[in-house]
């Protein structure tokens, strides 16, 4: 182990997993999955009104936690690290400031945190979490799109077979589902506001798809 040079406190006795700070210094700029689309320029030059608003919440820290929802010690440890409990009800989410947790599966949660805090939080988890669990940094593999506007539900209905009516899909609900010919984890954050976690390799496809499907409503890109 000695030559795994950067493995510090994260070398938790319980999990014996390799953890590393994957974020370089500030001199190197990260490129989010939609970097090539240059959303910043579109936000400046593109239309300012339309039924759909889109914003990429880029370079967040994405941590996938898998553990046992019935293990009280683990649940307590999560709360110590994040200051908020894991959502145990299926398809729900919790949040605490900049931290949000999405239920993904009975033994899986997606934790979003500010990008620069990722390693700290991973390290804390490794220090705090007892028992059998896994924590995986997936920050490079996905990005978050925020979609809002008066036609946002009309747009999403074209992409996902999930019922988006507010009776079935209240604010705070999370679903992982099909999105066009890819997948997304969709969380409702307002009556007309949703966050989509999408996979990096599909992001260009989804960007194309969203532009096409928004034509009838008008698409406003926000920085």
């Amino acid at each position: 182990m000695s030559d795994l040079n950067n493995m510090t406190a994260a070398e938790s006795a319980a999990t014996k997993a390799a953890v590393m700070n994957q974020v370089p210094g500030p001199e190197i700029e990260g490129q989010s999955p939609l970097h090539h689309a240059d959303l910043a320029s579109l936000a400046k030059q593109g239309p300012k009104t339309g039924g759909i608003h889109l914003r990429e919440q880029k370079l967040l820290g994405h941590l996938t936690l898998r553990c046992n929802a019935e293990n009280a010690e683990q649940l307590a440890a999560v709360e110590r690290v994040l200051g908020v409990a894991l959502p145990l009800q299926p398809l729900t989410s919790t949040e605490n400031g900049n931290y949000s947790i999405r239920w993904m599966s009975p033994d899986e949660w997606l934790i979003l945190v500010p990008g620069l805090e990722t390693f700290d939080i991973e390290t804390k988890f490794r220090d705090e979490m007892p028992g059998h669990y896994s924590l995986v940094n997936s920050s490079g593999g996905s990005t978050v799109l925020e979609l809002s506007g008066e036609n946002v539900v009309d747009l999403l209905k074209k992409a996902t077979p999930v019922d988006l009516h507010s009776k079935s899909f209240p604010v705070g609900k999370v679903v992982s589902t099909l999105f066009a010919k890819s997948t997304a984890t969709i969380r409702r954050t307002g009556e007309q506001r949703f966050e989509l976690v999408i996979r990096r390799s599909f992001s260009d496809y989804l960007w194309l798809w969203l532009q096409d499907a928004s034509l009838e409503f008008g698409l406003v890109v926000e920085a």
Binding site: P90, L91, S105, P106, V175, S176, T177, L178
Partner: protein, 94 residues
């Protein structure tokens, strides 16, 4: 188009999100080496394939990615129940 209740997500979802992994309750022989070719072949390939009630293994592939069992009528396509891995069906195919 089947409408499937995922026992893990606790709601109905479209068939598009799932896929069927074949007949349920086919346990891997505990001692494969003790199986004859015939027994191993039957484990691998031979199936009930009933017209009527059938226990199937499904996975919520685009959702929670959990496997679960389903009892379904292969003629009417009615789903009688879904139940988690390790659980036993309450409606049993003959």
């Amino acid at each position: 188009m089947l409408h499937i209740y995922c026992p893990h997500c606790a709601e109905y979802r479209e068939e598009d999100e799932f896929h069927c992994a074949g007949q349920a309750h086919i346990a891997r022989p505990l001692d494969p080496e003790a199986c004859s070719d015939q027994e191993w072949g039957e484990y691998l390939f031979f199936r009930k394939n009933p017209r009527g009630l059938h226990h199937e293994l499904w996975v919520h592939a685009a959702g929670c990615r959990k496997f679960f069992n389903m009892t379904r009528d292969t003629q009417s396509y009615e789903i009688k129940e879904v139940y988690k891995i390790g659980e036993q069906p309450s409606v049993v195919a003959e």
